[in-house]
Symmetry: C2
Subunit: 324 residues, 2 copies
């Protein structure tokens, strides 16, 4: 950690009336990090609050001590963002603060450094990992509550230590956090394991609708508005569906094709291993992403979208064969 960043963070920790902002539709990392920082200020006797655009998902409300909405509560003396890569990501409710951010604490290497002080470490797994390193380097005391929030942040952004952003340092930080007293399995269970019954019902319907091609190496799942409605499912309930079908034995490429409210088809693509580049398929339709996870929008009917997508996947299979 460089001295400029540490000096900025030390300055932040002297502030009072601190407003902590997170990104729109807040996730476990930004909330865990924000509430850990909030607790640190409270332990110093300061006035502090956390604000966000959008509501807090039910599975993350242990982190926010039950709060569903996070609104600014006072006129701040210092404004800090955590896990916010660009000022636009603050969302409409917090847009008024976009030009006045004093401290920007983040782990996205794409961070646009929009604040007066930018404390960005692009190699960290999560904002939670960054804040732990800052606390350690600057001697901010960690208690059981802070440890639990930071653990939640790191566990969330690493998919419970499964994703490739998990490093030796991530595990070392977690080892330090677990020396404090909190119920780590419960934190993980609350964040990841609880799903609404309607989502499970939706998963059932999805399994009925699977289209399997090329001896099971390609699995496509068309999700129509009708299917959503019949199962009382929300758009958010199907966001994880592509991970569900990616688990199928033998599957190399999979995709969900979701009919949007506007009648287009939103495609989420995943590959099971590094041997197939789904970003190349997404690019055919003007989309993009990573080798293993990409997305695109196809402006057509579901049937046509599926046929065109399958064609693009076939073409890519031939190309991959050339490469490997």
């Amino acid at each position: 950690m460089n001295e400029t960043c540490l000096a900025a963070f030390r300055e932040l920790m002297t502030m009072d009336d601190v407003l902590i902002l997170v990104h729109r539709n807040p996730d476990g990392d930004c909330l865990g990090t924000a509430f850990a920082l909030k607790r640190a200020f409270e332990n110093l006797g300061r006035r502090v609050c956390v604000a966000a655009t959008g509501t807090v998902d039910r599975n993350l409300r242990d982190i926010t001590d039950g709060a569903e909405e996070l609104k600014p509560k006072f006129l701040p003396s210092a404004i800090v963002t955590v896990d916010v890569a660009t000022a636009q990501m603050l969302g409409p409710d917090l847009a008024c603060y976009a030009d006045s951010v004093d401290y920007n604490i983040d782990h996205h290497y794409t961070n646009t450094e929009y604040a007066r002080n930018n404390i960005v470490f692009g190699s960290a797994s999560s904002a939670g990992e960054v804040l732990f390193d800052l606390f350690s380097a600057c001697g901010v005391e960690i208690d059981d509550v802070i440890a639990e929030k930071l653990y939640a942040a790191i566990a969330f952004d690493t998919g419970c230590f499964r994703y490739s952003n998990t490093t030796a340092h991530t595990h070392w930080v977690t080892s330090e956090l677990m020396k404090y007293s909190f119920d780590a399995p419960r934190v993980v269970r609350k964040m990841f394991d609880v799903v609404p019954l309607r989502q499970l019902k939706m998963e059932r319907a999805a399994l009925d609708a699977l289209h399997v091609y090329r001896d099971g190496t390609v699995v496509l799942l068309p999700i129509s508005r009708k299917m959503l409605e019949e199962n009382g499912a929300l758009d958010e309930d199907v966001s994880g569906m592509v991970s569900l079908i990616r688990r199928i034995e033998g599957c190399v490429v999979c995709a969900t094709l979701k009919e949007t409210k506007e009648g287009d088809v939103k495609v989420s693509l995943r590959s099971a291993d590094d041997i197939f580049d789904v970003s190349a398929v997404a690019a055919v339709f003007g989309g993009g992403g990573h080798v293993k996870a990409s997305g695109c929008l196809i402006k057509s009917t579901m049937e046509e979208a599926e046929a065109r997508l399958l064609q693009a996947i076939e073409t890519r299979f031939l190309k991959e064969k050339e490469i490997h």
Copy 2:
């Protein structure tokens, strides 16, 4: 680690013609640990092999370098067990070695210490964690292959760092392992994420058959032989089903009731939190287990078993209300 154990392990590492035995129906922990130890002997130029009763599950064959069957290959000079709590757990194919085990490396505090040298650490998450500590304490060199196998062992037995056996030391050990070069997300994906399509189809059928009681706080899933047959599912495909339904939002107690080949009903009970003791319910039917996970066998038809189980759960709810 006490000096007697370390001396025994140092002695083991001087041996040649080493036979490593694991428990029957081997899991990721015993296999990862055994193949890490095998590699350490190979690096020293020794003859070594791993043997097991039963076949290696498909999802664990990266650990065994593809091997499905593990048979003794020579007359050994030294016999070592890893992750084997009792000599009986060696199973029929290895029963002939039960009285001749020289070194017993394990993490089960229930280990019966059946060997000439017993190297048992009951507080470790996994046999993999024990072997790492032994390697470190005795200066056995770790390479990328050993690191990957030990990582697999630890990740398997901790449910990818989610279970309550995961300690600060577990994360510290993992941090050390991740300094070596291997693809950790791939290891986890191979072990946990790949499921046969027939299992997903079985999950779909299960969701159709859910019985929800007490405003969704009790969820029971009867699984008949017919349901298994119709979906081409194996008995092993339903073993994780109780975890699936435990995820349902609002669920406090859940159970699968599986019709056995003999026509009885095998019950697996789970509670979502510590507020309901399912072992008390299992005990009503002569079963047992832990507060959050128990099982029992009810000798009756499925319908009667479900009615009796529901009654026992109701009774326990009244009791829990008295306690809390």
